[in-house]
């Protein structure tokens, strides 16, 4: 009966994490302050007033541009690295991964240092070189926000397309070669169309990311007084609070997300892209000849603007007494690191909070994911599809909207969680539950039921065989699932910004507040610390997991 108890607990947790917040979100959207009956008045107000329609238009412009740029850069980049003999492919990939792990709000902050209208370093260099009156760059604009978000979205398309190109059987392209198609024709008529599902997936992913992104627009567009949907939602939370209006305003974002993900599945349609290939085939790389070095230069540009420049700016700023003076001797100091780690109680407790909340969230999400995934893949319970749907539902809910749902569900009795650490922990766990769940499901699917059944025929109960056979075999999958929740939780901003209180501030909310206050040295220092901690964790776990990860590969 222990198995039943565990399962019921997991169900209760799912109700608290997913069903109640989303239910309350919808309920709240129908509420009118100080009125008893429900109505659609909030929807009417949200979608007819022109001051609220403007941000929707801006969001669509931003998302479309970001996704277009990300695909336009990411696709050729993936092709260069997967299919040509461009030099330094390994290093180029590492740089793209570095862009991938950089939270885009940190990139936005770095670009504020580089390209603020007057004080930005690049503008200052320009003025010094040309004696112009002012520099050409203004990061506080729609174009600036699009630029920064596109930079950190390129890795999505890159990763999807690169993966598709690697998986594509060499015979597909060889068949075109032997029929007489040269490199360019082969690439355009065979290679790219076969990678189209990955390109579309990259576009949709970036579109949704840009739509749901809060940090970058908050940093770059609020000062420009240009709102997008997410910053408008943030404004609804400022005084005077309009929670009900925010809930109504958020609904289309969920619908658009769900619709696009559904569309993506349908688009492939009749041309199911299941390809059989033979093993051990060798692929010919397209020789670039004298274009090799030019291609390397072009491939380096995205990394230059997404990684080199921002990290240089952040690092130098964190080491400067005052960043406006520039990185000159006499201005350099470790003061801010000492300040963040030793002297300042706010940053200290924020670091502790980030760790403990992330730890708790990852553990909770993993426990639920393992339990539900096990019950569903082993068909131990009815309504497995519904359970999968609930576990995956947060995937279509942008973080900021999840936060509104949590706020409306748990800022009053009977479950008053707002103001405690729990609301942040549960929100983090919910937000990244889909990652843990899909990770565990795929791990369990590769694990034969017979392994467990063998234990059960020898007399072990269901729970015992689970813990003596399945769990040890899943150990590395569980650890990587845990990390896939812990690491994003460390850098989560869009949920945390709505749910934290001064007593429960985490590193990202502290960064946000410092940036708001113009304390860029502190922002840079905390940003560098977050990245250093993330890298250290990834490095250590790679060391620990690397070996067993390889060994755990099912045949």
């Amino acid at each position: 009966m222990a198995s039943k108890l565990i399962f019921v607990l997991a169900l209760a947790a799912l109700a608290i994490m997913v069903v109640l917040p989303l239910g309350w979100l919808f309920y709240t959207s129908l509420q009118i302050p100080d009125a008893a009956q429900l109505s659609f008045a909030n929807y009417v107000e949200a979608f007819t007033k022109s001051i609220y329609l403007g941000p929707i238009g801006n969001s669509l412009i931003v998302a479309t541009c970001v996704a277009t740029i990300a695909v336009a850069v990411g696709t050729p980049l993936a092709w260069l690295l997967a299919r040509t003999d461009v030099p330094g492919r390994g290093a180029l990939r590492a740089l793209i991964v570095a862009a991938f792990v950089t939270p885009s709000f940190l990139g936005a902050q770095a670009w504020m240092l580089l390209a603020a209208p007057n004080s930005g370093w690049l503008n200052k260099i320009w003025v010094a070189l040309t004696h112009a009156e002012h520099g050409p760059l203004n990061i506080y604009s729609l174009a600036g926000a699009i630029f920064v978000m596109a930079l950190y979205n390129i890795p999505y398309t890159f990763t999807f397309v690169y993966g598709a190109l690697e998986l594509m059987p060499a015979e597909m392209e060889n068949a075109a070669s032997i029929l007489g198609a040269r490199s360019l024709r082969r690439t355009l008529s065979i290679t790219l169309p076969l990678a189209l599902p990955a390109i579309i997936a990259g576009f949709i992913m970036s579109f949704l990311e840009a739509l749901a992104e809060f940090g970058t627009p908050a940093f770059l567009l609020i000062p420009a007084r240009q709102q997008v949907v997410t910053t408008q939602l943030y404004l609804f939370f400022q005084f005077p609070q309009r929670i009900e209006l925010a809930a109504a305003y958020a609904m289309p974002l969920i619908l658009v997300t769900a619709l696009l993900l559904f569309l993506q599945r349908r688009l492939i349609g009749r041309r199911r892209f299941t390809m059989i290939g033979t093993k051990g085939e060798r692929r010919r790389l397209t020789p670039l000849g004298r274009w090799r070095w030019a291609a390397l230069g072009a491939a380096l540009i995205p990394s230059l603007v997404a990684v080199f420049l921002p990290y240089t700016a952040l690092l130098l700023t964190s080491l400067s007494r005052a960043w406006g003076l520039g990185p000159v001797p006499g201005n350099l100091t470790f003061y801010w690191y000492r300040w963040a780690l030793v002297d300042n109680a706010t940053t200290q407790s924020a670091i502790v909070h980030s760790f403990t909340y992330g730890f708790a969230a990852a553990t909770i999400a993993l426990a639920i994911a393992v339990t539900i995934a096990f019950a569903v893949t082993r068909k131990l319970v009815p309504a497995g599809e519904l359970l999968t749907f609930i576990c995956m539902a947060p995937f279509v809910v942008p973080g900021i909207i999840l936060a509104i749902g949590f706020y409306s569900a748990y800022s009053h009795k009977p479950l008053l969680l707002y103001g405690t650490a729990w609301i942040l922990i549960i929100a983090f766990a919910t937000r990244f539950l889909p990652i843990a769940y899909s990770n565990m499901t795929s791990a369990l699917q590769t694990l034969s039921v017979d392994l467990e059944n063998a234990a059960r025929t020898l007399g072990a109960g269901r729970v015992r065989s689970l813990f003596t056979v399945t769990v040890p075999l899943l150990r590395s999958a569980m650890l990587s699932g845990w990390l896939l929740v812990f690491i994003p939780a460390l850098r989560e901003l869009s949920c945390a910004i709505f749910l934290f209180t001064p007593r429960t501030a985490v590193m990202t909310t502290v960064i946000f507040d410092f940036s708001d206050a113009g304390n860029f040295e502190a922002v840079a220092t905390m940003g560098i610390l977050i990245m250093a901690i993330t890298l250290a964790i990834v490095g250590v776990s790679y060391r620990l997991l690397g070996r067993s990860l390889v060994e755990a590969q099912p045949a």
Partner: protein
């Protein structure tokens, strides 16, 4: 003229690794079907990839007619070789319809649109796929995909058609049917074909000549009948058809001493006396006789007494496994009416005209 001449071809993949293709010499006549037959890892697919121009040889040359296609100095790319290829996975493009797949090579060759339509329809008709022209590959069965691959390869009227295990993903019935279709296709078009397979029956049905490959080398080239009847190596002997291979020492130019008995063959070999050699004899050529009542039941030249260890009734034949002095196991097949009990002693006659001595 699409006469293929391969000379001293060598290829290795890892710098210090073994040779995947080791000094292969092979000539394929214009209009001939040549099968490269061998177990997996024997170098047959690598040879085909070299022929197609996907790989560059480390040593040796490939010529077609007067044209030098491959040498260590450089290769003519696959797209300029006027060849077609059928891949093991078919490599039918999933984003194109059957029609578009077949038309691709014609578009590349800038054939006028109207001619493309008529040629594609003609070839689809020939492979009985015309009614499925607008389907996508995911909606086709394996056999239908195979036909599309065939149509796509021949519609461009290549000089040479390369086939890489084209039938290995089909089920047994379909495979047998397609063997004959490929042969029929060849007889109708006269295209020179190089056909890679590990299936001896497939090679025997489709090919004019077979090159037996092993360990990167060509062991023997010949018509199916030549290889079956006069295998030159123990490997060639055992790879085509079932064969008893008896190891021994050469004691005369045409005589081998195995442990416990001596076998003479019809033809001698040019090996020194005392060298290791093997005698090959096919199971159906061994004549079994009862020991009971035969006074001369002793071992003599080309005759040995053995004990039945296994007996299988297969309807049309009986299949025996017989242990002879020295511990070797021989197989013999007889008509089903001849029955010997397991454990009983029998004489085995090894007719001199069916024994062949080959190098070990």
């Amino acid at each position: 003229m699409a006469r293929i001449v391969i000379e001293r071809l060598r290829k290795r993949f890892a710098q210090t690794g073994p040779l995947a293709v080791d000094s292969v010499d092979l000539t394929v006549a214009d209009g001939e079907v040549m099968a490269l037959l061998g177990p997996s890892g024997c170098g047959k697919t690598t040879t085909l990839s070299l022929l197609a121009g996907f790989l560059r040889p480390d040593e040796g040359e490939i010529r077609v007619g007067e044209r030098l296609l491959s040498s260590p100095a450089g290769v003519v790319p696959p797209e300029d070789r006027h060849m077609s290829m059928i891949f093991q996975s078919y490599a039918i493009w999933p984003h194109k319809t059957v029609f578009e797949n077949v038309a691709y090579g014609l578009h590349v060759r800038r054939v006028p649109r109207r001619e493309i339509v008529s040629r594609v329809e003609e070839v689809l008709d020939a492979v009985q796929m015309k009614h499925l022209a607008q389907r996508y590959p995911a909606e086709l069965s394996g056999g239908q995909q195979q036909r599309v691959a065939l149509a796509r390869a021949i519609v461009v009227r290549p000089d040479i058609l390369l086939l890489d295990e084209p039938l290995s993903n089909l089920d047994a019935n379909l495979r047998e049917q397609m063997r004959f279709e490929i042969r029929r296709l060849h007889d109708a078009t006269g295209i020179t074909m190089v056909y890679v397979t590990h299936d001896q029956a497939e090679a025997m049905v489709t090919a004019d000549r077979i090159a037996i490959m092993n360990g990167g080398r060509v062991e023997q080239v010949g018509t199916p009948a030549e290889i079956y009847e006069r295998p030159r190596t123990a490997f060639a002997a055992s790879f085509i058809g079932r064969m008893n291979v008896l190891e021994g020492t050469l004691v005369g130019v045409d005589t081998v001493a195995c442990s416990g008995f001596v076998v003479r063959a019809a033809a001698g070999v040019s090996l020194d006396t005392g060298a290791k050699a093997v005698v090959c004899i096919r199971p159906q050529h061994i004549v079994l006789g009862s020991v009971n009542g035969t006074p001369s039941a002793a071992s003599a030249t080309n005759r040995v007494v053995g004990r039945i260890t296994r007996q299988t009734y297969l309807g049309e034949i009986r299949d025996y496994l017989i242990e002879v002095p020295g511990g070797m196991q021989l197989r013999a097949v007889t008509s089903p009416s001849l029955q010997h009990e397991i454990g009983s002693e029998v004489t085995l006659e090894l007719p001199i005209e069916h024994c062949r001595i080959v190098e070990l």
